[in-house]
């Protein structure tokens, strides 16, 4: 994955070439009565093998931004490029893992679900599809459940299938929209560890949306902190040094507090003004 990204990049530039570059993107969507600006002039670059996290409170447009990268929304301003090509439609080069469990097709078995996007995209030779699907299912530890239908699986297992399905496609970038938000805390932690293990094996690039600071620090190698109404970039931080083992360490807590203060800065300021007024 690393090599291909570098090959397709601009040879004139000396440094690493971004895989995904989002440049001054403003996204708007319409509700029945309003035109809502979800993000305002957001820019960031994702490099190969990045675990890039979009973090922010609800209303910061992080999910909308991910839908934009997915090709489900067109920006009103700015551009998004994947490997130099402008993103203008959804496609299997950016596989998405959704938060909702109903993303799996209930009429297909686990194996058929994983095979289906490979079959319809035509990106893989027909005789390899089955083996690739089996390998992907094995990687997420669901080989025993290959032939059951999704309604027989637990929430965590369904998300594993969705991840296997996305990984089997070998997308340029994996898009994950709060994939673990609907899981219980224990399962979530286990899934985070598994994702890191998978990343360690294959070094894919992932764009991960979450509203949990802790999850962002553990899962992410780089964190984009967004402020709400509309979503603007507040900071871009490094978090590659932290996993579950460092959770609770002083550095971990420092970064946690730093992000927390950023996200709640406005509230703290408002509180300070109020207190100053009373004093």
């Amino acid at each position: 994955m690393n090599a291909t990204a570098v090959d397709s990049g601009n040879p004139a530039a000396g440094g690493p070439v971004p895989l995904l570059s989002v440049d001054g993107v403003t996204l708007q969507y319409k509700t029945r009565d309003h035109l809502v600006t979800a993000t305002y002039r957001v820019s960031f670059d994702v490099f190969p093998a990045d675990r890039f996290v979009l973090l922010g409170p609800s209303g910061c447009g992080k999910s909308t931004l991910l839908k934009g990268v997915g090709g489900f929304m067109k920006p009103v301003e700015g551009t998004m490029r994947l490997k130099g090509r402008v993103i203008d439609a959804p496609g299997p080069d950016r596989m998405m893992v959704f938060q909702e469990f109903d993303q799996l097709m209930p009429w297909k078995t686990v194996l058929a679900n994983v095979m289906f996007p490979m079959r319809v995209s035509g990106a893989f030779p027909r005789n390899e599809i089955r083996d690739r699907a089996m390998a992907a299912i094995e990687k997420v530890g669901l080989s025993k459940f290959r032939d059951v239908h999704p309604h027989m699986l637990s929430g965590g297992m369904k998300q594993r299938v969705a991840i296997a399905r996305a990984m089997a496609m070998e997308p340029d970038i994996l898009l994950m929209d709060e994939p673990y938000a609907a899981l219980d805390a224990l399962t979530r932690r286990q899934m985070q560890e598994e994702l890191l293990q998978l990343w360690d094996d294959t070094r894919f690039a992932v764009l991960f949306v979450t509203h949990s600071i802790e999850e962002a620090i553990i899962v992410g190698s780089r964190i984009l902190v967004l402020s709400p109404h509309p979503g603007r970039v507040k900071a871009e931080l490094n978090a590659h040094q932290f996993t579950h083992t460092e959770q609770g360490s002083a550095e971990f807590m420092d970064l946690h507090r730093r992000i927390h203060n950023m996200l709640f800065a406005e509230r703290l300021e408002a509180q300070a003004i109020k207190e100053a007024g009373h004093g």
Binding site: P90, P92, Q103, M105, F116, V120, P150, M152
Partner: protein, 294 residues
């Protein structure tokens, strides 16, 4: 923290940790149900029991009344049904009816597919479908029979016309509302694979809306069957070989009431068979297996 005397605190207890866990006391975790419970849990057993009770009630009432012209007994009806099937024209009549029915049903479902395809792809199509269904769905198909007779004459085409009318709107309405209820996540997942247009409809919308489509097909089937029998009662006369409706009408004219009941029973049996064998099997193999219906 306030004074504990004012605000109560829970008592401080020793911690407990079990080093080894035993489960030998309760025996098997799963115990099979008794034979009687398992038999009663079978749907068809309970339904058959209801049918037997109804047939018994009929037999008793018929014998009590002693008037075979008005209400023949259940056993008379069974004899008549046997006689009409083996020696009489019943099988031929059933064949005629079902042939016409299948032609009409297939045409109706095909047209419904065209209408819903239009409705999901264009806004004009949506408006067209909702306006037409609002207009024609409440209109009983049999009310169109006089017009159909005028246009197509006495014969199969008129019957097919009214059957199409009875099937089309019910199936189209259900299919369309099924498509509309497919979740946004499922649509996005489909688009994410790069599916567009017809492939998107075939691979994502149709299976995802299948419970609603199946419900539409069932309602359409029931409407078609009713309409056909009613239409045959009106003009089975003309065509060389009449259908089941004509069989009923003919026997009423000859005051063979037991045969009238036999004809009605044949209508019911065919309806039940289609529902409980064909549709039931489709259901078990699709929506139930997929966990979309329980």
């Amino acid at each position: 923290m306030a004074d504990p005397r004012e605000k109560p605190l829970p008592p401080l207890r020793l911690e407990i940790e079990n080093k080894s866990l035993e489960s030998g006391q309760i025996g098997e975790v799963q115990v099979p149900l008794s034979a009687w419970e398992r038999v009663v849990n079978l749907d068809w057993v309970r339904r058959l029991a209801i049918l037997v009770i109804l047939a018994l009630a009929w037999e008793i009432y018929g014998r009590h009344l002693q008037n075979p012209l008005m209400v023949p007994t259940f056993s008379n009806m069974v004899t008549a049904l046997w006689d009409a099937t083996v020696h009489g024209p019943l099988l031929e009549r059933i064949y005629t009816s079902i042939r016409v029915l299948l032609i009409g049903y297939a045409c109706g479902v095909g047209l419904a597919a065209v209408f819903t395809a239009l409705a999901v792809s264009t806004r004009v199509g949506t408006d067209l479908l909702s306006t037409l269904t609002a207009m024609f769905n409440p209109l009983p198909a049999i009310a169109l029979l006089p017009l159909a007779l005028l246009w197509f004459g006495l014969g199969v085409p008129s019957l097919v016309f009214v059957i199409i009318h009875s099937v089309l709107w019910a199936v189209a309405l259900n299919t369309h509302s099924g498509f509309l209820s497919v979740s946004e996540t499922m649509r996005m997942a489909g688009q994410n694979y790069g599916l567009r247009g017809v492939r998107f409809v075939v691979h994502v919308l149709m299976p995802a809306a299948f419970p609603a489509i199946l419900a539409g097909l069932k309602i359409g089937w029931a409407f078609a069957w009713r309409t056909l029998i009613a239409a045959e009662l009106v003009f089975g006369v003309s065509s060389r070989s009449g259908g089941l409706g004509w069989f009923i009408f003919e026997n009423r004219n000859q005051l063979e009431t037991a045969y009238v009941f036999a004809g009605l029973t044949a209508v019911i049996i065919i309806g039940l068979l289609v529902e409980s064998v064909i549709f039931r099997n489709i259901e078990v193999r699709t929506v139930r297996k997929w966990g979309m219906q329980h």
